[in-house]
Symmetry: C2
Subunit: 442 residues, 2 copies
């Protein structure tokens, strides 16, 4: 006989205890419900793709992290994000899709990063994007913050701020300073401002050999203060002469104005000219989202507008705007920061403990509860002591006990496990009594 193998899960792979998983799924469902309430399609692309297709654009650091292997004659890779699969999806189905194409995808992606605390090699991304055919209304740049807003309102994990900028403003501004050939480097430095602070940004700009007067202008520019309206006015009134800059300011103005019409609370969004979103993928509006009480978590939801989703697959111009939430990492951070309580999550609403072999009687109650949408767990264990221990450890808020005495009296005992209160219920009033007690408690 074979020796036993030690069962274990690889490091860098999140696998949760049952009660933690309940909580994780709740967050995932909130995100999915908001995404779908906006009428976006749920798309599900394969985990495995042809390496040629998946790596059409990739390079450098990303490519090193990819899980790539051969099976038969096929050179295969696991998806490392949900953007390339979206590009593939849209480019290959261009003639059959309806544009603007609104889709979300929630799924695992894979990156063989160096293992470290809070970094995962397999993690959920929750992406939502809208893709236009040749053009895409700027109104979608307004819809995206509205989606972020609904999600973080519903997640209920504390106050948050959506920080909004437009890449054209920065690019145009740097062009006006004759720094066109350094835009990518400068953006990358500015993007780090939250982590390294303003003084280090200045230092790094000096290292780029940018003249001090221009560095002063840059620092002054990105740290413009005031309300959103004041910032917009300063931008509109600035003496910067550059077409890209002006386009960016007009777009930002449009977006901010319409967020107001969307009835979003102004405390939850702000113009922040330091938001650059490192990569050169984004071309217009960009977003980051922070939890106000936990700035150290960094951005928990980011994205932006891009001119061309799938230039490596097609000549069609496919502009889009979207965001991504790295749910696995976010969940980990929320638990580490004690914003979420992993322990107290029961899967069932009610646990039924039969102390009888008259299951027909028991099932009548169970059916009644499930019919009303209550998650009902029935436990079969031989000893009363085992049953009580089970119910205690599951932390189900309510228990129903049915023994032969109860059957005689045509009742069941409903017990509130928090208060210890026990109530006699009948098949006809069990749901009502449960709901009354539940609502009293809250």
């Amino acid at each position: 006989m074979k020796d036993k193998v030690v069962p274990r899960t690889l490091s860098g792979f999140m696998e949760l205890m049952p009660q933690e998983q309940i909580l994780f799924n709740k967050l995932k469902k909130i995100i999915e419900d908001v995404y779908s309430s906006y009428g976006f399609y749920p798309i599900d692309t394969p985990v495995i793709e042809s390496s040629e297709v998946l790596l059409a654009k990739a390079g450098g650091e990303t490519e090193k992290q990819i899980y790539r292997f051969n099976k038969g004659d096929n050179d295969l890779s696991l998806r490392f994000d949900l953007t390339v699969p979206l590009a593939k999806y849209v480019a290959s189905r261009y003639n059959d899709l309806i544009f603007p194409f609104k889709r979300y995808q929630i799924g695992k992606v894979f990156r063989g990063e160096r293992a470290q605390k809070g970094r995962f090699r397999e993690f959920y991304q929750c992406d939502i994007d809208v893709i236009g055919n040749e053009t895409l209304s700027l109104m979608y740049d307004c819809e995206i913050p509205s989606i972020i807003y609904d999600i973080f309102k519903n997640l209920n994990i504390g106050d948050f701020i959506i920080r909004i900028n437009n890449r054209k403003i920065l690019s145009g501004f740097f062009e006006s300073l004759d720094l066109t050939n350094m835009i990518t480097e400068i953006l990358r430095i500015i993007d780090k401002i939250d982590k390294i602070g303003i003084d280090n940004v200045r230092e790094e700009l000096i290292n780029l050999k940018i003249p001090t007067d221009k560095i002063d202008k840059i620092i002054n520019f990105i740290t413009i203060e005031g309300t959103n309206e004041e910032k917009i006015n300063k931008l509109l009134e600035s003496d910067i002469k550059n077409d890209i800059f002006n386009e960016g300011v007009n777009e930002l103005n449009f977006v901010i104005k319409n967020l107001k019409s969307l009835n979003m609370n102004e405390n939850n969004y702000e113009i922040d000219l330091t938001i650059a979103r490192g990569l050169d993928y984004y071309t217009g509006t960009v977003y980051e989202t922070n939890l106000k009480d936990y700035p150290s978590l960094g951005s928990v939801c980011s994205g932006g507008r891009y001119d061309n989703l799938a230039s490596y697959y097609t000549d069609k111009k496919l502009p889009g705007v979207g965001i991504s939430i790295g749910l696995t990492r976010l969940f980990y951070q929320l638990c580490e920061s004690n914003i979420l309580n992993k322990e107290e999550n029961s899967v069932a609403d009610i646990t039924v403990l039969p102390l009888t072999y008259n299951y027909e009687y028991v099932f009548n109650f169970v059916r009644e509860l499930r019919k009303k949408g209550l998650k009902t767990d029935v436990v079969y264990l031989d000893k009363l002591k085992q049953l009580i221990k089970y119910a205690d450890r599951q932390k189900t808020p309510y228990v129903i006990i049915i023994g032969d005495d109860e059957i005689q009296k045509e009742i069941a005992i409903l017990k509130n496990m928090k208060t210890g209160k026990q109530i006699e219920v009948t098949i006809n009033n069990v749901v009502d009594v449960y709901e009354q007690d539940l609502n009293n408690k809250m």
Copy 2:
């Protein structure tokens, strides 16, 4: 500049069009809702596991199909089912879990099979199992058919029959015929009866060199006819002297009796002594499920009772009972057989077409609809013609049109796209009018 790469999806990997995906997700949600209504935990194990752990038990055909590769020093594999991950999960968390441990998992598994029509290399399995610590009540063998029953009632894809047997009955019977050393082969042949027919079963048994009189006994035995009660009575009254056989008959009797108490419709389940479930994994009750009008689809939901979930990881005895639905294949079959209509599935309940730049007015309607849980798609396209085309192609059942005229009159136009009927609505009655029209129609 790089040449364009042709975007494509690998063969054997299901990737659906948006409206097909809506339908697929509906089925998945029905299964998940039933699973969770029984108070089972949703578990989510990694796609990637250490090969040593994942292949602790595997061998032969399965091992050849596995996606296995190295990354750094690690020998990794993609999960090929959800049973081994469950065994790993329970064995490694034995001290922290509450038993009986009730879990479901819905996720993709991977098998590098030869590509052929209706076979997938990446497919969803929807598994549900309950695992006991040392012992597990036979009542769970009754709960499982009840879960199958609820799922196929809710899926609403036609009449179905759950076929139930007990492996001990067959094993004991063959023992009583002195065929103990051939049990596995015989079971494997009997298991094919639906596909190859009774005559070929006889033929194959003859090839095993089983004496004709015993073959006759086998054939007569597995084709016992009658109602469930009649079959049970024949088994109880049989002159077969074997302890395993008697145990099996008593278990089957218990399960069938309690299914009645569970109030399941007797047309939807039957004792079928030909159900063997090939592999030697199962040790007691076994289940298969067929769509009555589509027998050629084979079993669409199978499973059973096993004595030992994780013997390759642990000495602990972990008996369990569960089922699995291969959703990707089932969905494919249902579409191929025209049981499902892939085309007519709209993601949104209502599509809003703004023919105005007064978005504040538009958003007031949108918010009202979303607040009531209606999936509301707002489309921004420049031309009226484009908007109409979009709405037509999306097949959204209702459209709301708001132009400046409507704003003047403080109304919106609600259009039923099936009947063509247009109704003037206000912000205060839009939801009510929509619901009235929707219910009239149905």
